[in-house]
């Protein structure tokens, strides 16, 4: 029972990590809290579902399509919501409000398209293969989820720390102006970061949609709320922190749901978030110092 819940927690937690990675990336580099990230996640799940049900595409192609859709939607988000504010050097409050607006628009569209219904992937989209190892029930889907998250995270780390483009991204994260003096175009970097964040959200959408076999228009909201917990626990903008905290959150949640109730799980998680913010705002895994950028109007 315990080992089974641990496994389930790690599977869900790895998807939380994937989702929160994009969120924390955008925060670390653009210093923007993108509250529309949950809606991009929903969009990814929708794209994959419709690609399979309406276009009869195989799952890998549909997943790729979802990743692309998430990435493009996220870039569009940057162009419409954040770039005008960035050019005006508006306070961070403005960007948050704008992203809430974008999230509402996307969620509302998803609601109209799906007619407020909970949709499922058709039977046989993913082969149901189950192994029993020492009384543990392991599904092929679970392994695929953990595997694809691991591959994506490694690819992201390689991109950020081993390529020229990644170097540019990190330079802009430290100081946009200095990076510009060195001949880096911040607009391109921002577009890249938003594309990656959206693509990660889209991938997370497909994986969560498959794992629970349920796709509906508000599925992004609980994930967004959990992403807050993940990025605060892991430290805003920290990649390793987001991965660790995501796994931790998944395990804590799945154990407390199993041994108590889902209500207790929520209270525990958000109580933890509140506590960590008060005691250690830089996060459990972040450095001891946090730059509180207070910009107001």
């Amino acid at each position: 029972m315990f080992a089974q819940q641990l496994l389930n927690g790690i599977v869900v937690g790895s998807v939380y990590s994937l989702f929160a990675l994009g969120f924390t990336l955008v925060f670390g580099i653009n210093h923007v809290l993108n509250l529309a990230h949950g809606a991009v996640f929903t969009l990814g799940a929708f794209a994959a579902l419709y690609a399979i049900t309406l276009l009869d595409l195989p799952l890998p192609v549909a997943a790729l399509l979802a990743v692309l859709a998430g990435g493009l939607a996220s870039v569009l988000l940057d162009l419409v919501c954040f770039r005008p504010l960035r050019n005006r050097q508006a306070p961070e409050f403005a960007a948050i409000v704008s992203s809430i607006g974008a999230g509402l628009i996307l969620t509302s569209l998803a609601q109209q398209v799906s007619a407020t219904q909970v949709m499922r992937f058709p039977f046989g989209t993913f082969p149901v293969v189950v192994w029993r190892v020492w009384g543990l029930r392991i599904q092929l889907l679970q392994l695929v989820i953990i595997g694809s998250v691991a591959v994506i995270v490694v690819a992201l780390l390689l991109y950020l720390y081993r390529t020229e483009l990644g170097r540019q991204v990190r330079a802009v994260a430290i100081s946009g102006r200095t990076a510009q003096l060195l001949g880096i175009n911040p607009a391109m970097v921002f577009a890249q970061v938003f594309f990656i964040a959206g693509a990660l959200a889209g991938a997370a959408g497909v994986l969560i949609g498959l794992a629970f076999n349920s796709v509906h228009y508000v599925m992004g909201e609980p994930l967004l709320l959990r992403a807050f917990v993940v990025v605060v626990l892991g430290g805003m903008g920290s990649i390793g922190g987001a991965v660790t905290a995501g796994l931790l959150l998944g395990v804590v949640q799945s154990l407390s749901v199993a041994y108590a109730s889902s209500g207790v799980a929520d209270a525990l998680i958000f109580g933890l978030l509140f506590l960590v913010l008060l005691v250690r705002p830089a996060g459990l895994f972040g450095s001891g110092v946090v730059a509180a950028r207070v910009v107001r109007a």
Partner: protein, 292 residues
Amino acid sequence: MMNYLAAYRSLLDLVLINALLAFSQYVVLRAGVFSIATAGLASIGAYTAANAVVSWGWPAPLGLLSAMLLATAAALLIAVPLARLRGVFQAIATLAFVQLVLSVTQNATSLTGGALGMNGIPRWATTPILLGAVTVALYGLWRLGRSWIGRAFDTIRQDETVAVSLGIDVSRTHLLAFGLSGALAGLGGGLDAYHGYSITPDAFGFRLLVACLTFVVLGGRVSPWGPLIGAAILTVLPEVARPFRDYALLVHGALLILTITYLPDGVADTIGRRIRDRRLRRPGLAHAAPVA
């Protein structure tokens, strides 16, 4: 004419309740605190008010008073630790507070009726009472805005370092803003409970939080007319434009983006500034005092 008014009376009531919640959000934003706790505080107010009448048999006015007191106490309680945080971190912490309240109200079944909520709350908050509450709140906020407190709020919002150098006690002012926000949210939530016959935990979740924020962003963050105008526009709009009703959220979202991008001060403050500029340009009035 009277029939026409009667038909829209429930809409007016809704505008008034929303305006109170918008006031609660407005107070903290004006003081430069990015708290989005209003939904959670309103939930505390609503459940206190409902329990006072339904479970404990108190008279409604007493229930309303206790709703305000409890919500204020809750706001002050979270304000003390929140004084350490700024900006985005304040927003996330208060969001966590709203979620905490939501999960407590969903699970403390004996006190809140769980996910089904509480029913059979007698309607006490009639239109005149709501109108009275909004008028008092508006007048109070207007007077407050023109006093030293309002000036302290404005200074802290614009530049905290300057505020400190001017001898303004930032944490005490923030505490005051939080307390006021709690009282107004408690009032709004309590009146909501006494108006709608029933309350559910979900009504005080993320959706309400976004709505309150939208009211203030659209209306304006400096003049107390702002939240009232914002609440009025956003409550009436989906009703008047019936075909858009299914797309109410979409309209909300588009308005948020358009307002923050092209009208960052909100409707009321932009109009207020226009009027003030015109008045100042008139000869002989060059030294007219600026209007808050």
